[in-house]
Symmetry: C2
Subunit: 193 residues, 2 copies
């Protein structure tokens, strides 16, 4: 990795953390300069514009989310064990304020704002939902879930469970957030048996 | 209602709609002036500061959400019918981009930002969760739900179902969003029987 690319990655890491906290829309080259101590002209050289910065932060967060949640799940055995691994890593990223949080806040920010960022968010979500449905589908072919269970419905339901977790854990700071989320997840699995 | 109060209500209505779209944090007296055609000094006379404006918009949205979702549910018979009525009105407010959307986006915006707005959001959510749990609890005493069903878990789970609906409907614009949400809700009710 060149020095320029290493700097770019370090700045994106910081920018993703900031965006998780204040939202992607609040992220500007000016606020990032204040946050990192870098000059605005230096940041412009890396990111060209506010929208390009936001797009690159989103791409960076997508990679981070894949590294933290999707890839570790794919390392688990196919079927139910993989669905469980996905859930565990997703919960962990929510507890750490990781990349998953950025997607939750950006989704609420951009759902009414047409444009390239919203389009990218939609693609990322659909790709991820497809991955979840595929993991579940393998559980059907392995005989671990009912043959008539609906993988896309499961992906939808699990997403709701996780949004409920982020809400209860991050906004309400409820000590029971994780326990309730685990019950909801077990109920989803039990309904698919 | 005095003319001043009528103006304040009309401006709050417009401000709540704007905040549902761009987020509560993006709402300033300057942006509201541009949006309504009113002078900034006139708006300052009504709202004093950006934070006071945001707090009043939140209070207005809470009343709207009560009018659109909670009060109509309380008009339905106690127990399961009331839980169903709550769900129906909650879905309707999500489809219309009503007050429910403002709470979803504001929750994601403020979960990492300590202060009076976050505190108010937490109180509003806990009050609402208590109302949902109470509606469900009545269904237990009416013999419509299992005696050992957990009303607080139900309120938590239903919130997740609704966050999943807002996400699928508003961000992804999925045509199946409502159908999947209805299935998720029926599964929750079935598990409580």
């Amino acid at each position: 990795m060149s020095k320029g690319e290493a700097t770019r990655q370090a700045v994106l890491d910081r920018a993703a953390a900031t965006a998780s906290r204040i939202g992607l829309a609040g992220l500007t080259i000016g606020s990032l300069a204040a946050d990192t101590g870098m000059s605005k002209s230096g940041l412009f050289a890396h990111f060209q514009s506010k929208e390009s910065l936001q797009t690159q932060v989103l791409a960076y967060a997508r990679e981070l989310f894949s590294d933290q949640v999707v890839r570790p799940a794919l390392a688990a055995p196919r079927g139910k064990a993989r669905v469980r691994a996905l859930f565990e890593h997703w919960v962990a990223t929510g507890k750490e304020g990781g990349a998953g949080c950025l997607f939750v806040s950006a989704s609420a920010e951009y759902d009414d704002q047409p444009g390239p960022i919203r389009d990218q968010l939609v693609r990322d979500h659909l790709d991820f939902a497809d991955s979840v449905a595929q993991m579940f589908r393998t559980g059907i072919s392995e005989g671990q879930f009912r043959p008539d269970a609906d993988p896309d419905q499961f992906a939808h339901d699990l997403h709701g469970v996780m949004l409920g977790f982020f809400h209860a854990h991050r906004l309400l700071a409820e000590s029971v957030a994780e326990a309730r989320t685990r019950r909801a997840f077990e109920n989803l699995l039990a309904a698919a048996k």
